[in-house]
Symmetry: C2
């Protein structure tokens, strides 16, 4: 199988274009890229520096100390884990790719979902099915639709065997409630599915009423959990990801498969980064406090942008975790049509060209291209420099900061004009 690639992963591509426009001096509000635009926590930098002299190849699975820390991290989240169940990698992305190569069968995805799951399935020669999400949350397929899709796929002779869930979700910024997760797990048991649970936004739940239940707590023998430090600690540029495998012998078999793929595709996470991982996953109090402050800030901005969308007449699931909102302008279709906006492509283009507001069009996340939906990463609104970003993080009322108010006003005015 040889895959023809036509384009770069759309989020990274758009980020590049936005940076080019910025470099030309254009004023943009960039919410198109899923990055927590915050400075690195100083102790993380210290640990990277402390590990800087470690130049030799490490174990494919990761350093013992780092795997020990990661096992503690999961164990503290009601997922008892031994270091043997852990692999570290340069990001969770390569781990998800390896899982796609190792696990048999086709892949069931929420629709919309993160724009890398489906291309990875295709790279591994798999079919990927997009299944609508429930009305109240994203990150999981709607359970009835999931059952129907499995049945339909099997009638065609296909073999759906993997379901991917994102808890909390990218792109909707919502967290599937425990009951929905239990339903997905029950279906996985009945239909013999493996669950890949992407929990990279887990520590960024900002709705204090929201409860997170991992499928690994319900059907641990059929769940691989992936996570990383890119989102919770805003170090996407350092590329540190982890996977947690079931402790069963079948789980260890999957781990061995991923380790084998790792050894042929990327070898190992860079050693200096493993020093960072050993510190970060041990979660000392100062780091927990920092992550908590970060989550609070994400919540403030996500709710503010959510409010703008809903006030303008769009529907939008209320964000509970991560740093995204995913509005739907269907109720305003007639109004948008007056501006030539009739689908997600023209919606994205209009916002960028008319108002300098960059968002990621819904169809790039597997959603219906005729729908009027986009993903906005509200984590890009903390400021242009570290000073503004630290101010946002430390402010008791970040929305009152002038630079943030300016972003929000600009978004509010643009959305008001769009919907007029």
């Amino acid at each position: 199988m040889t895959v023809t690639f036509e384009k770069i992963s759309p989020n990274l591509d758009l980020n590049h274009k936005v940076n080019l426009r910025k470099a030309r001096g254009e004023s943009l509000v960039n919410m198109a890229f899923g990055e927590a635009r915050l400075p690195p926590f100083p102790a993380l930098v210290d640990h990277l520096i402390a590990g800087a002299r470690r130049n030799s190849y490490g174990s494919v699975l990761g350093d013992d100390q780092a795997r020990e820390a990661v096992s503690g991290y999961f164990t503290r989240r009601r997922q008892p884990t031994s270091p043997d169940q852990v692999i570290l990698a340069p990001g969770s992305k390569p781990l998800l790719m390896a899982l796609s190569l190792v696990l048999p069968g086709d892949v069931l995805l929420p629709r919309p979902c993160w724009n890398t799951y489906a291309p990875q399935a295709h790279l591994a020669g798999k079919r990927a099915y997009g299944i609508p999400i429930p009305d109240d949350c994203g990150g999981v397929p709607e359970p009835t639709a999931l059952r129907d899709s499995i049945r339909a796929a099997r009638l065609l002779g296909h073999d759906p065997r993997i379901v991917v869930v994102t808890l909390p979700d990218n792109p909707t910024g919502t967290l599937a409630p425990p009951d929905t997760v239990r339903e997905i797990c029950a279906i996985a048991e009945e239909e013999d599915l493996f669950i890949v649970s992407d929990e990279i936004y887990r520590d960024l739940v900002h709705d204090t009423r929201a409860q997170i239940l991992s499928p690994a707590e319900v059907v641990p023998h059929r769940v691989v959990v992936t996570s990383g430090l890119s989102k919770s600690l805003a170090i996407g540029g350092w590329r540190i990801g982890v996977a947690r495998f079931p402790s069963s012998s079948a789980g260890m078999h999957v781990r061995d498969g991923v380790a084998s793929a790792a050894s042929e595709i990327w070898s190992t996470l860079a050693r200096p980064m493993q020093s960072v991982a050993a510190y970060a996953f041990s979660e000392p109090p100062e780091l927990r406090a920092h992550v908590a402050a970060t989550a609070r800030l994400h919540g403030e901005l996500a709710r503010a942008v959510h409010g703008i969308m809903v006030n303008a007449g769009a529907t939008c699931r209320r964000p509970t975790g991560g740093f995204y909102v995913y509005p739907d302008f269907e109720p305003l279709r007639a109004n948008l049509a007056l501006h030539g906006v009739t689908d997600s492509d023209s919606l994205r283009d209009h916002l960028l060209e008319e108002y300098g507001i960059a968002v990621l069009a819904g169809h790039l996340l597997g959603d219906d291209s005729k729908a009027l939906r986009f993903k906005a990463a509200t984590s890009m609104l903390y400021g242009e420099n570290e000073e503004q970003q630290w101010a946002a993080l430390n402010a008791p009322r970040p929305l009152a900061l002038p630079h943030i108010r300016e972003y929000l006003t600009r978004i509010e005015e643009a959305i008001a004009k769009l919907c007029a």
Copy 2:
């Protein structure tokens, strides 16, 4: 296509086993792992530290400054290169994997060759053909055998379209002479093959008479060159690799495909590592001097171990670059049989169990399992600690250093007993 993985890449796996034995206090001479066991050059560490605060995602292709430096690196090697032709990645391994996914057709490999080429081809759903190397060098298929293999494969309806060459070679430590490279290029033209030229050992040619010719100098439109800093600068643990694509529109199409695969599989090289790359590929005089000293040391040890093998009666291509030797004990088959050594598996086991000498068995590199061949990485003999390693690097006569003499004596005695 779903691949069943049975084992970890054998070199990394063996390294892990050797480390476990060492941790138990056993005295080992480990030549099983292709690492330059040397400290990092201090300025490299300085640049990693200087880049440590760079926490945001970078461009998929690599930072402008790093790509500029890499383009200079190749241009200084008679491969005129613009930054557009360059992609950086966490190692050359993921770049080779992406090339396997992007380039159409089956893969033609030298036999023996680096143990990752064939598994990557299989991961990409390709067939891999191992073609014997010439008598005088490794890293390239013997030209007549290459022609025959292409013909035979096509008769079976297969589609060999890619040939991989390694200049200088892993595992034989030899450099294919320019005439042989030209022959391979001529075949590539006739048969419409794409050439992947792995030049990661390029700066470690230690035979001053040896001349390197890259296929990219001969048929530039059909060659992708890969390289990295793991070998020449002994920073395998930092994972810094590069690829250079042809400047033609077809070449840019391949580059776009690799960029697309990169964006879905690994995103980007960690930003702090891009600061290292920008410095290292600019090759300031102090770094060139360091690499030259390293290459001299590699040559000293490779020739010493080569001498031991040949003196014992084995045949062995004389090493010219990199840090490997690849002896063949066929002339001593009857002697080895007295010790129960009858194939490459039992040869490797015997050396490890009887003498504590770890080498990589030839069949793990695609070679005939009945042959009595192995790869020895002589770069592992510089010492157990940085002090010994710096002493090795700075010594006018490194072979005279007590710790190195001890390694060599132990190898010499073991080989003598094996061949008795």
